[in-house]
Symmetry: C2
Subunit: 133 residues, 2 copies
């Protein structure tokens, strides 16, 4: 399955070490550039709403199958953890779109390192994305 | 960006028309087979919990940039809609893992058509995945 890079993420995190453990705990702005070829796909992407951002964790270890999460003392399978290191390192953050300038989105809640490739952005829909868990 | 198929989804929906508009509104079981090479990545993937499933919508129109959603009367950009038709057709469902038999996961809440390729599965974490929206 071949994906296209549809945009690029510019973030204050230059390295994996600098990135927050989860985007949700950060209040820093990141900028998402949607490449011009896809700008019309942003029609009605409105400021103030929340979006699910999928991006490619290009520095991840794609051979990792188990990991010891920061909150655990024993190994967990990567499919039972949120580790960025996994066979298909697609990371997911629910972000708030604070400001939009044409094809540039300024968001809060993203943990991507600078230069990460954007894969998709979808509106967060409470009825679909919230579990009773 | 090249992704590997890490598993296969078997569902009661043989065609796009048969699939529910959203997985969340379905109470039917789907079966996810994790390919044996990745089975150890399921350690601690436990029954009863919720998981975010990413799969490849192989029948999607990857050239679509705008669409009229079922709840609207005017076009929306695909990045402002949950349409499966988008440049990178990675669909996302929050599912409940009802039963697990080794590398076979029986879930409720998935809208994938039969034979869809599995990309990733992550545990749903309320603190990360829920927005104040």
């Amino acid at each position: 399955m071949e994906l296209k890079e549809i945009g690029r993420i510019y973030s204050p995190y230059k390295t994996v070490k600098e990135a927050p453990r989860q985007g949700k705990i950060s209040d820093k702005f990141c900028e998402i550039e949607i490449f011009p070829a896809y700008e019309t796909a942003l029609l009605h992407a409105d400021e103030g709403r929340y979006y699910v951002v999928l991006y490619f964790a290009h520095e991840a270890d794609r051979t990792a199958l188990q990991t010891v999460p920061p909150w655990a003392k024993e190994p967990y399978g990567v499919f039972a953890s949120r580790s960025p290191h996994r066979p298909n390192p697609i990371n997911l953050c629910v972000v708030k779109l604070v400001r939009r300038e044409k094809n540039r989105l300024f968001v809060i809640g993203l943990d991507a390192i600078d230069g990460s490739g954007l894969i998709d952005i979808k509106p967060y829909v409470r009825e679909l994305d919230e579990a009773e868990a």
